[in-house]
Amino acid sequence: MSGEVPEVKVQTARRSLLQRISVVWLVPIAALVIALGIAWQTYNERGPLISIVFEDGAGVIANETELRFRDVVVGVVEKVGFTKNLENVLVEVRIDKDVAPYVDSDAEFWVVRPEVTTEGVTGLDTVLSGVYIRGRWDTEPKGGRGVFSGLSRAPLVDSDQEGLRIVLRASDGVVSGESPILYKGVEVGRIGHAQVSQDGFYVEAEAVIFAPYDNLVTETTRFWDTSGFSVSIGTGGAEIDFDSVAALLAGGLAFDTFVSGAVLAEDGQVFEVYGSEDVARNSVFNTPDGPALNLVAVFDGNVSGLAVGAAVELEGVRIGSVSGLNGLVDPARFGDRGVRLQTVLNVLPARLGMPDDGGAEQALEYFQSEVADGLRARLVTGSILTGGLKVQLIKVENASPETLDPAGLPYPALPVTASEITNVQATAQGTLDRINALPIEELLGSATSFLNNASLLVGSEDLQATPGDVRELLGDIRAIVGSDDVQSVPGQIGSVMTELEAAVGDVRLILDEVREQEAVTRMLATVDAAGQVADTLDASLAGVPALIERIDAVAATAQELPVETLLDQVSGLAEEARALIGSDTARALPGQIGSLAGELELGVSEARTLLSDVNEGGGGDSLVAAINSAARAADSLDKSLVGVPQLVARIDAFAAKAEDLPLDVLVAEVSSLVNTADRFLAQDTTRQLPEELNGALDELRQILAQMREGGVVENANATFASAANAADRIAIAADSLPALLSRAEALLVSANGTVGVIGDATDPALRDLRAALRDVSEAADAIGSLARSIERRPNSLLTGR
């Protein structure tokens, strides 16, 4: 290194301040300026801090919970603390500067929380994002205020909803919070939270009718409760009514304006809530409109039975109703700690004939003066059955002076007097006690034992055997009827007839015998005589043509007669006769006649043998004598015939007379005769005639047979006599038969009654009885017919007709 070091000129830097300070300093200065600017701007834009007092601060978090206005964030909670004494929660909210002027004294704040109600879910977004405070204020900035009291629940109407705000009043809690108000089933309004009114008699709730439905509410609009459901059973069947499920669960109100043309309601108007639509509808017409006067009456003592709605009567006229009831304990006022009943009397001045406007004042003055004169309120029994009470305003004589303070609280108090309550319950209790004391058990015991005895009696064997006895009795009767004696009566008659028949047969036989003896010999004489007769007859016949002419005239006359009707009658007669002949019995008649003829034939043959015997035994002489007699008879006939022409002449005269006869009458008589015959033939008995004829012929045949066998003509008389006797006896028996029958009938009637009494329990016995009765009836019928026929023609037995 060299020692010479060049002198370095060191120049001392002496520069200006501008040079010394670096331009970099602008950076922190700018940063500072910007920071300060931001800070100032932030401070400048920061709004005022307001305090809201809430009852609780659930979910409200500092620096997170927002204040919203119309769902726009206008502030943030800065602090959540407490008021003095920790009574409430104090939330401090920093609100935006531009909305701060509007947050004035009418601002309302509430915390929006998720709510699940019967009306739906609200505030669902707050479940996740947390609650927020909602504010509501009007659009006019007024004097601000620092401290607000927050609402415990959301107000009824949001700021963006217009509507009519009214107050609903009910006497009990039918008005529940957050219930819908329905109009024809559509929700047009909402009820706010219900609260007890200041006087404590009503439940009141603010309600809103949303626009544009607010013009549906007039001053005469009636609200009623639709909560729950009503069940009615009528002629149309059972009905269950409810308005909507929400109303069913949470309750709801409906309203309607039954009267048109009323003034629209105004904000704040109070409406009564009625229990049902019917009551509401009736109230329109029953309750006079206009202001009501509320009075208060304090009753003491036992006043159960008074209810809201009970009548308030003045001189028997209903002037209002009880609108509120509550207990009252006021030792300072009454001097003891007893509970008294404070009733609110809702008096309608219109009922007193006072005008709507100013009526309440007038009524109050009226009551003031009346109370001074002794008007008192008392409780009287309104309904004996229910024990309901009503309030009666009466004038009491010599009442202690009282006054009505028009400024009384809650309402002017009406003095009271002793109540007049009929103790229906006690009376009813006494009556019930007496009824209770009646020996009903003993009575029932006696009745039971009586019925038991009756049952035993009815069930006794004696009584049970009665139908059997009756049946046996009937059996006896049947046995009597069916006994051989009675049954043999026709048989005996038959045998009598048989005897008769036989006798007749014998007579015929004798006659035949007589007829045949010497017949040929006497025949010639007879023929001779007959020849003479014929001659005489020939002479007689000479007058015949004239007779024929007469007859012809008669026939002509007869031709003019009303033969048609006669023929009709005859035709009817012929029909009857034909029917008669056509009957079975009539048909059997020829057979009978045939057999009778057979019998007669036999009788004749026997007579012939008898006559031959007679002939052989000198009978011929007598026969000759007989023929002689016949010849004489012929002679006498001849002589008789001599008078024939005179006879013809007489006949002629007769015919002439007959021509003059009133044949009309005759025909009419014949006609009536035919009618009679017709009726006769139409009778059942006539129809039975062939039958009886049949029987008679039968009998006759038997009689002939017996006569044939016995051959004793003499016996015939005795036989006839005995037959007559028998017939008489039968007639007597038959006479007594009707009596027997009537007795049997009476017996049957009695038996029938008995059977009816005994009833169905004796069913088998009844069947037997019926069978027996049928048998008896049949037997009685048979006997009856027999008796009738015998009675009618007792001699038919003999005559065979």
Partner: protein, 217 residues
């Protein structure tokens, strides 16, 4: 040159060193003959710029810590975390290591840088008990480590880019991220503005004898 030889600066040797290519030139040379860089023996405005950047960095460091670094929105909940708050939250959730790293990178290192740069800038004008060698080493460390402070900003940037799950979750940088990034940048600029040769001039400025004696001792 031996190790025992006293240290002299280039300026004492009448030389000026090129700060770019370290070639020394005789005093008075205007530009480096090798790299054409402008040759200045000492930067006269260095300290002024150091202080200016340092002030800016400090200014931005305040909002970087007060304002949230991250806005995390998960469904309906929005959480905003400052640097320290986030680290504390992580530590409370058990991630102590991560919390330590965040605290180290975002709080300790920037603060240390502020202190170091400030100390170095002050020590140029005043006597320091710390030797020049140590101070120079400190400067080198500060300059080297300064960029790592941006790790927090990187984390925020990466998270913001990755976690954008629409409604479910999203992460957005808070205002502190920008402030912190600026703070780091300004701090780094501050460190760069410092002329480390000033460390060695300290003794000359106060007195060559003392420095000489000191050197000689």
């Amino acid at each position: 040159m031996t190790a025992a030889a006293p240290l002299i600066s280039a300026r004492e040797a009448g030389l000026v060193a090129c700060t770019r290519c370290t070639r020394v030139w005789p005093m008075g040379t205007d530009r480096c003959g090798r790299c054409n860089a402008r040759l200045v023996s000492r930067d006269p405005g260095s300290l002024s710029r150091v202080w200016a950047w340092l002030a800016a960095g400090l200014l931005f460091y305040i909002p970087a810590n007060l304002y949230p670094m991250l806005k995390t929105r998960m469904l309906f909940t929005v959480s905003e975390d400052t640097i320290v708050g986030g680290a504390v939250g992580l530590a409370q959730h058990g991630a102590v290591g991560i919390a330590a790293i965040i605290l180290l990178a975002s709080v300790v290192i920037p603060m240390a840088k502020f202190f170091c740069i400030g100390y170095l800038a002050l020590s140029v004008r005043r006597e320091s008990r710390v030797s020049q060698v140590q101070r120079h080493r400190m400067y080198e460390i500060v300059e080297y480590i300064g960029r790592w402070s941006m790790i927090d900003v990187f984390v925020v940037a990466i998270l913001t880019a990755l976690v954008q799950l629409n409604v479910a979750a999203s992460i957005q940088p808070g205002p502190a991220a920008l402030a912190f990034a600026l703070s780091v940048i300004f701090t780094m600029l501050s460190a760069q503005a410092f002329d480390p040769r000033l460390i060695w001039d300290r003794d000359l400025a106060t007195g060559p004898e003392a420095a000489q004696g000191g050197q000689g001792a």
